[in-house]
């Protein structure tokens, strides 16, 4: 079975661009904390969602709705309403992290497909099979912590389809198990759907260089010619011992293009592209490259080599304009 290409969209134009560029699925979020890219001005209202689903379905593409944050008891109804919206709007699958919400979806809309979000932090087949047995999860998105050999081990022991991150921003922490943003700002990916939210971020040009602060905490300082990254807490430069360096992770993007033959061989169901916060231009650029690559790997198998032009294109749009194979490649760890 061919690998599905799952592309991000933070707006209707981005969704249309992704579909036109060859995405099999587009994943989107609503304009609130029910998804993990809850940024000002981003995401879909009800009208845009209806238009997006109609546009994608008319062209044979699917739309997935990310409802991948954790509702609290006091705002629970907002999340269940979002699941209802997904069912009413003909969404092809919901991407969930909270077990309580999975149970609600299963009981209320049993025919709505359920995917386990990366925010669910399921890193083993035992965990994935738990979600499968309890809530009929049909696909799981793996956190970016496993090596390819470990991914293969998961696939061998679960009936659940496995989706891997192929390209884009890289969480170095296990998704769903990171409270760095909550610690620094009080708002977290888990509960508020945003890491280092914009309202806490200040960029200031100072005599010492361009400074990025999150809630007053100095994350990094850039000289004029240095590449910048998102002002996320894990990608700053800090002092440890006598050294100042990227103590946790460099500003860098994940790019697994060269691993595609191996990923295809081991039976990965889908490749996910990160970046709902990016513009339609990025979505188009990245989707076109990955569409061609996936199509070519289907014909060439192990003989597949990525085009130099593709790699250039992906490098250009990457955070810090550098790339890594991440945990898929053992030495990164």
């Amino acid at each position: 079975m061919a690998i599905e290409l799952v592309c991000p969209a933070g707006s209707l134009p981005a969704l249309k661009t992704a579909v036109d560029a060859g995405a099999d699925c587009v994943y989107v979020g609503l304009r609130d904390a029910t998804n993990a890219r809850n940024f000002t001005g981003l995401n879909f209202d009800d009208r845009a969602l209806a238009d997006g689903v109609a546009y994608a379905h008319a062209r044979g593409a699917k739309v997935l709705l990310a409802l991948n944050t954790y509702p609290r008891s006091d705002n629970w109804a907002r999340w269940t309403a979002a699941v209802d919206t997904a069912a009413e709007r003909g969404i092809d699958a919901v991407i969930l992290a909270d077990p309580g919400l999975m149970r609600y979806a299963l009981r209320t809309h049993p025919s709505l497909r359920r995917h386990l979000s990366v925010q669910g932090s399921a890193t083993s087949y035992e965990a994935i099979n738990f979600y499968h047995e309890q809530f009929g999860i049909q696909r799981a998105v793996l956190p970016r912590v496993l090596s390819l050999a470990q991914v293969e081990q998961v696939i061998a022991h679960t009936p659940v389809e496995i989706e891997l991150f192929g390209f884009g921003g890289l969480c170095v922490m296990v998704e769903g198990r990171c409270a760095l943003s909550a610690y620094a700002t009080g708002e977290s990916p888990n509960c508020n759907g945003a890491c280092s939210p914009g309202k806490y971020v200040r960029w200031e040009q100072t005599a010492a260089g361009m400074e990025a602060r999150v809630n007053g905490i100095l994350i990094d300082r850039f000289a004029a010619d240095e590449r910048a990254g998102y002002p996320t807490l894990c990608k700053g430069r800090f002092a440890v011992g006598s050294e100042t360096y990227y103590a946790i992770e460099e500003p860098t993007s994940l790019n697994t293009l060269e691993l595609l033959p191996e990923i295809a061989r081991m039976g990965v169901a889908a490749i996910k592209i990160e970046g709902r916060q990016r513009s339609p231009a990025y979505v188009g650029q990245v989707t076109r490259v990955w569409r061609q690559a996936i199509d070519r790997v289907a014909h060439e198998g192990d003989r597949f080599r990525p085009d130099a032009a593709w790699l250039r294109e992906l490098a250009r749009v990457s955070e810090g304009q550098s790339q890594t194979l991440g945990a898929y490649h053992r030495p990164w760890k």
């Binding site: 914009g198 309202k199 200031e204 590449r227 990016r278």
Partner: protein
Amino acid sequence: MEPKLPAFIVPGRVAALVGRLPQLPPALALAGALNLALGRVLPREQLEPLAGKRLLVRVTDAGLALRFALGANGFRPVFDRQPDDLRISATLRDFLALALREEDADTLFFGRRLLMEGDTELGLLVKNTLDAVDWAALRPALPRVGLRPG
């Protein structure tokens, strides 16, 4: 696909010249273009957090520094002494590439070609609101203004 817009910068002597010219006419032109779009293609309600904020758009290679604010009657140039809430700087080429949707704002930002200072939340709001405008769907209804992305 590489961007279609070629790399260029406005020659320094032009910038020096423009920098000495009054900034009111270009500021008025930009505010006018934005006002044509406001309510029609730019959702006024979503831009409400911008109300009363000072925005500075600096076209670095052209010597242009346009300050404006969103008020009850739309965008207007401002020349007061209040500090800017948000400053966005890039070259003319990169601003055009953004407007034409050939470049992604974050890509330019990572390469230090787009500089955003001050209230980052306002910057995200501007960027994401512009990204969400569905030009294709609006094209038949759109007035003929200068920059109309394809």
